[in-house]
């Protein structure tokens, strides 16, 4: 369950940063990304996947959230 720092970059894409792992990646897709639901599975540009508990309101970025790593 790493803490992930999320922010939007210049192009409006979600940037994913895990301090302990020095992992800095752009998120390719977010499962739920609408005004009434945000979260689910997030796929990064290096192919790894993380899961965020879906929220009713999209968070205000930048923010630190807990994510679950999905190994497949």
């Amino acid at each position: 369950m790493p803490s992930v720092m999320l922010k939007k970059n210049g192009e409006g894409k979600l940037v994913f940063y895990v301090p302990k792992k020095d992992l800095e990646e752009v998120a390719e897709s977010v499962e739920f990304d609408s005004p009434d639901k945000w979260g689910g599975e997030v796929v990064l540009s290096d192919g790894s996947k993380y899961y965020f508990e879906p929220m009713d309101v999209p968070p205000v970025f930048p923010i630190t959230l807990r994510a679950k790593r999905i190994d497949d």
């Binding site: 720092m5 301090p19 792992k21 020095d22 992992l23 800095e24 540009s45 930048p62 923010i63 630190t64």
Partner: protein
């Protein structure tokens, strides 16, 4: 020697690894790589930020060095107590050349050494009482100090002293910030964790709880903070003038020539400018999340990168600043063109190998390239993956990358690659000079500087020329082995 091909470089790494026992060889192999610009991510080719192998000569420092020496030390109006035995503070005292303005011992304390001088008695009975006493003494002897930081050395963590409690009590008594920093040297694999701990201490003990505090000045839309510039040889001053000339207002310097008041005011700025990404990205990310302050990395080494950085910084502001950036670039053009015209013919085509800390292995590449030189090998003492990510694109294909290089590996690489110049630290300097290879200390600029900014570039170019084309290198070899060379003639033509 011509540029090496990918196969040659790989063969060289294999050859160097040959002497190690099986296990060490396997481990070290992960830290040595041939650069491949097509890679997006460094973790495909190199491993970093891992514990050094026992028995090798590593060049790394410790967490205390990262916190006291790098991040906290330059904050000039605070007193930084090296809490523990006397040596850690004394042998690192004033070695980093963080310049500052002020009267040392009266209102600034940068080059002084404050220590609790632990002896056996303190290890056995604990040092908390002594620490409390020291802080009272400091308050009496140096009343103009603006705060105290307690930089833990190894024994503090080992004997379990509660420096946080002492700090809180002292804070109430003297009414100034007292910051305990848990940067015992044994933490982490290098000074890098010390940077992180120091950043977290600033977050918890300086920034937090200061949100509502009056700044005492009016905020402007052009306020910026320079973060991760330690003013080595005056670097931060050379950077600051450029930013001010383009119309920005630098309200805080972290931490070269910086003060605690500037740090407390930083959450009011509009943009954080990060020079040393490795040592201060943590606090920048924190401020982005908590105070919504964007941050960008910039590079003030060499005119190409300076112009690039000024424009990128200006893009965050309105047209007046963007016009200001262009004006600054135009203003200095004649100056840096003259520098390049003078030194490029003397340095053209020379090959450089670098091995520095956490930022310069990639940041100075542009400055060398502006002078027509080529960086053929680079590596970080304590860089992480994200540093190597940023390095891959800066370096040429098939050049050497070495992480936490050992003394033996570095020497062997140099023997085979035969660079014209090496840029590294004091511990490497005399080995390579005795091997007859020109050397510049790239941690503290070899008692020179500044190297940042346009003014710094002129000094950088002069220093590189002075070192490389020095006639002494021809005298290092025994007379019957030297060929008649042109270096003397080149030096005479200056």
């Amino acid at each position: 020697m011509a540029a090496m091909t990918r196969e040659e470089t790989e063969a060289l790494i294999q050859e160097v690894l040959e002497v190690y026992p099986e296990q060490a060889k396997k481990d070290r192999a992960k830290h040595l790589a041939v650069n491949d610009q097509s890679l997006e991510k460094s973790n495909k080719c190199i491993t970093s930020n891992r514990k050094s192998q026992p028995g090798v000569m590593t060049i790394r420092g410790c967490a205390y060095a990262g916190s006291k020496g790098v991040v906290w030390g330059p904050i000039k109006d605070m007193i930084h107590i090296s809490h523990g035995p006397v040596g850690c503070g004394q042998y690192s005292r004033a070695g980093r050349r963080n310049y500052y303005v002020g009267t040392t011992g009266v209102n600034t304390f940068g080059t002084m050494n404050f220590t609790s001088d632990f002896t056996e008695k303190d290890i056995v009975f604990g040092g908390d009482k002594k620490l409390a006493k020291i802080m009272n003494e400091i308050e009496e002897l140096f009343p103009l100090n603006k705060g105290i930081s307690i930089q833990s050395e190894c024994p503090i963590g080992l004997i379990g002293d509660d420096i946080e409690a002492v700090a809180k009590k002292a804070n109430k008594e003297i009414g100034k910030p007292v910051v305990p920093v848990r940067c015992e040297g044994f933490r982490g694999v290098s000074q890098s964790l010390g940077h992180h701990i120091a950043n977290d201490a600033i977050r918890d003990w300086v920034l937090d709880g200061n949100e509502g505090k009056e700044t005492g000045y009016e905020v402007s839309p052009y306020d910026v903070a320079v973060i991760g510039d330690y003013n080595i040889g005056g670097d931060a001053w050379a950077s600051r003038t450029l930013l001010e000339e383009m119309g920005l207002r630098v309200v805080a310097q972290w931490s070269g020539d910086g003060t605690i008041a500037e740090m407390e005011n930083t959450p009011k700025v509009k943009l954080n400018l990060i020079h040393c990404y490795r040592s201060m990205n943590y606090i920048a990310r924190h401020m982005e999340e908590k105070y919504n302050i964007p941050w960008i990395e910039y590079n003030f080494f060499g005119p190409t990168k300076i112009a690039e950085s000024l424009r990128r910084i200006a893009a965050h502001f309105d047209e007046t600043i963007q016009a200001g950036a262009e004006k600054v670039i135009a203003k200095y053009q004649a100056e840096y063109d003259a520098v390049i015209a003078k030194y490029k013919p003397r340095l053209q085509g020379k090959r450089v190998m670098l091995y520095v800390g956490g930022l310069r292995p990639r940041h100075v590449i542009g400055a060398y390239e502006d002078l027509g030189m080529e960086v053929v090998g680079t590596g970080y003492e304590f860089g992480h993956n994200d540093d190597y990510d940023r390095t891959i694109k800066e370096m040429g294909n098939a050049t050497l990358l070495y992480d936490d290089v050992t003394g033996y590996e570095f020497e062997e690489f140099v023997k085979k690659v035969q660079p014209d110049l090496i840029g590294s630290g004091i511990k490497e300097k005399y080995i390579f000079q005795k091997m007859g290879i020109p050397f510049r200390q790239m941690h503290s600029w070899d008692y020179s500087g500044p190297y940042h900014g346009y003014d710094g570039f002129a000094i950088f170019a002069r220093d590189m020329d002075m070192t490389l084309n020095n006639p002494c290198w021809k005298q290092v070899k025994v007379p019957w082995k030297t060929a008649e060379s042109d270096a003397v003639a080149v030096a005479a033509s200056a």
